[in-house]
């Protein structure tokens, strides 16, 4: 018995030792900042000087802030576009490439390439593409006789213009789905072929069901990214015109820029809570198809 007790203690010491580094990082880089942010969200603080407790005043102000409401709506559009356009597109390409058509290796690399290019460089390229005198307007003008549009300067088109330039870069999710699709046993397809199933039927009844778990994970990741989107939009439009492309991340940044740290903290807390709720809902919605749910059980 005594030996078992000592062994248990050693096991626990080992576990703690292994968990300690990552726990410390997690504490200092997530738990502490989160509670600090939560605390400052109940204060009036400009980043410098003393904090003054002001209860839920920042939360009331945030709820009535039209810019933040607009940003919230934009983030939802982002999340939906990423989850329900980008991931299905990635899935479609993965399904085609898994059959290893001619030049599939080149296509795989080509689709993934934009993911290794700097966001800043890509954003600048797209600003040039969308310019009134840019190539997009030139092509549309030649093909359809369309008048030049200021894609990023018009509130009606700006949000979709910035989303488009992100959604078409499917490389990351395509690679994940392709890796998963490559693990599907070939014998399933051979059996389906013997039974006379067409290629479309094989994809519909074998590939997609077998990919369901990975699809749920990629959709969750894509939508979570959509909820916290910041970089490319900030670089391309700065959130304008008239806040048409502002996301919650940009709104938070602009609040910090104006030295409204406590209001930025409030937006940050809301962003974290909303992200948590969205991911929890997604996991509930897809239930057992989500490998993360299975791991949790």
């Amino acid at each position: 018995m005594q030996a078992t007790g000592t062994q248990n203690r050693t096991n626990w010491a080992g576990r703690i030792l292994f968990l300690l580094p990552v726990s410390l990082f997690f504490f200092f880089f997530f738990i502490y900042p989160f509670f600090f942010t939560l605390f400052t969200s109940f204060t009036s603080w400009r980043g410098i000087g003393a904090m003054k407790f002001n209860g839920i005043a920042n939360y009331i102000k945030l709820a009535s802030d039209p810019t933040f409401r607009k940003a919230l709506g934009n983030n939802l559009i982002w999340a939906l576009c990423q989850g329900f356009i980008q991931v299905p597109l990635a899935c479609l390409v993965a399904i085609i490439l898994v059959r290893k058509p001619k030049g599939w290796r080149f296509l795989r690399t080509a689709y993934y390439l934009p993911n290794v290019i700097s966001t800043v460089a890509l954003a600048m390229v797209w600003v040039a593409i969308y310019n009134v005198n840019g190539p997009l307007n030139a092509i549309l003008g030649k093909l359809f006789g369309m008048e030049s549009k200021n894609w990023l300067g018009n509130p009606d088109t700006a949000i979709f213009a910035v989303i488009f330039q992100t959604v078409i870069y499917i490389g990351y999710f395509m690679i994940v789905l392709l890796a998963s699709a490559m693990n599907i046993s070939r014998s399933l397809y051979e059996a389906a072929e013997i039974d006379g199933a067409s290629t479309f039927q094989q994809e519909l009844h074998i590939t997609l069901p077998m990919l369901r778990g990975t699809l749920v994970t990629t959709m969750t990741l894509a939508m979570a990214y959509g909820m916290r989107h910041f970089e490319s939009t900030f670089l391309m439009t700065g959130g304008g015109p008239a806040y048409a492309t502002t996301t919650m991340g940009i709104d938070l940044y602009l609040k910090m820029d104006a030295l409204r740290y406590s209001e930025a903290s409030t937006a940050g807390v809301f962003l974290i809570l909303l992200g948590t709720v969205v991911i929890t809902l997604l996991r509930k919605l897809f239930g057992k198809s989500d490998p993360m749910s299975e791991m949790a059980q």
Partner: protein, 422 residues
């Protein structure tokens, strides 16, 4: 065991004695420790002030070798630099021993920080007298001077007279009617009359236009009025007309780089910016460089003979309890802000400073800035300098909506007004 202990004791004694002797000899020969000052400088890279500033620092370091060494930490990305200053101060740390800020009602908050040196405590009368009194006054908050006014600017309009002459206009328009007439001719000739923009966080070039219009319509103290004042509404109406009818088709959403780029490429005939732009190599390379005239926007209202100005860069220093470090900072800043140093920086860059010098530029464009500043009977801040970053951001965001006709000038002004803290 006893023998080991004895050996240990002997060893300790020997080590202690050696240490003491070593320490003594060190204290006898140790030189005075060199004070190293880190300067987070924005005047680097392509900035027109960079060569003169770097030369001045090199000369200072050579003169003070072994005593003080100033190390420039280059900050070529101004937006990232501003962010660094904000986050460093919020985190309870000065971003460097010496750094600059754009002084305005938003950054005035920095004065609440104990991390900044209060120059009013270290400034003697002689040093103080070298500064423009008005700029010093503007940089003083409740008797505290936590940033020294360094670079100042007037923000006039730049007229490409080659473009104007090409449509038969030989002089800078003096009235708004003349301006519109000239703009119509330019437009008919396929030249976009003015560089306008609504992008970035301040819609920079259009913000300068708006400032000229608002001050002319509402007087030099217009910024004290509510933003719903008729002067602002009228200024917004005129600016909307300029953006929609007298600018490039990409003005809505355009950033400062694009706005300046149109002027440099000769696509627009009128631009607005500060004197620092005059020293740019790409501007000097334009075929119309020698034709550029600097001047005001023709008066839209009753206020005339004024110029829009701002404190462009104020210099801050980290507060310290180390007297030798404090003395080193003061010594370097006295050197940097001396009339001789400022004249050298001005000469190379064309920039204007809050330090009084006898310097008068020889280059035509830079000279025009000095002449415009001297000719103005009075000055007034631009919108950003007067009302701060948050109001300017709202101005920029809503300017796009105004230009596209989504909101009226009254609604535009009401939206900006709600961001003003009273």
């Amino acid at each position: 065991m006893v023998r080991t202990l004895k050996n240990l004791v002997v060893l300790l004694v020997v080590l202690s004695l050696t240490g003491m002797l070593f320490a003594q000899s060190q204290s006898e020969v140790a030189p005075v420790k060199e004070v190293e000052l880190r300067w987070a400088s924005i005047w680097v890279g392509n900035d027109s002030k960079a060569p003169a500033v770097e030369a001045l620092v090199a000369e200072y370091n050579a003169k003070n070798a072994g005593k003080i060494k100033v190390v420039i930490e280059p900050q070529p990305d101004y937006n990232a630099y501003e962010q660094k200053v904000r986050t460093s101060l919020a985190a309870g740390q000065a971003p460097a021993d010496i750094f600059t800020i754009k002084f305005n009602p938003t950054t005035e908050t920095f004065y609440q920080s104990n991390l900044l040196m209060d120059f009013s405590k270290v400034m003697d009368g002689q040093w103080k007298a070298t500064f423009d009194a008005g700029s010093l006054q503007q940089s003083t908050v409740d008797g505290v001077l936590k940033s020294l006014p360094m670079e100042t600017a007037i923000l006039p309009l730049w007229y490409n007279m080659d473009a104007f002459k090409s449509v038969g206009v030989t002089s800078v328009p003096k009235t708004m009617d003349e301006l519109y007439a000239a703009f119509d001719k330019l437009k008919a000739a396929g030249i976009a009359p003015s560089s306008q923009m609504t992008g970035d966080t301040n819609a920079w070039t259009s913000m300068i236009w708006f400032s000229h219009l608002a001050v002319s319509l509402g007087g030099v103290n217009v910024w004290d009025k509510p933003f719903t004042d008729p002067a602002f509404v009228e200024a917004a109406t005129i600016l909307k007309n300029m953006i929609t009818n007298y600018s490039t088709s990409d003005a809505v959403g355009l950033g400062a780089g694009g706005s300046g780029g149109h002027f440099l490429a000769g696509r627009t005939a009128v631009f607005s910016n500060g004197p620092w732009y005059a020293g740019r190599a790409d501007l000097a390379a334009t075929p119309f460089f020698d034709s550029i005239k600097i001047g005001s926007l023709p008066p839209a209202g009753d206020t005339t003979d004024f110029m829009i100005s701002r404190l462009q860069a104020n210099i801050c220093a980290a507060s310290t309890k180390d007297k030798s470090r404090e003395a080193a900072i003061v010594d370097f800043l006295q050197y940097l802000t001396s009339p001789a140093s400022i004249a050298r920086i001005s000469e190379g860059s064309g920039a204007m400073f809050a330090i009084k010098t006898d310097y008068l530029p020889t280059k035509s464009l830079q000279k025009q800035f000095y002449e415009s500043a001297n000719a103005a009977k009075t000055t007034s801040f631009d919108l950003e300098a007067a009302l701060g970053a948050e109001v300017t951001l709202e101005f920029a965001q809503q300017l796009g909506a105004l230009a596209l006709g989504r909101i009226s000038a009254e609604e535009f002004c009401a939206l900006v007004d709600r961001k003003i803290e009273r």
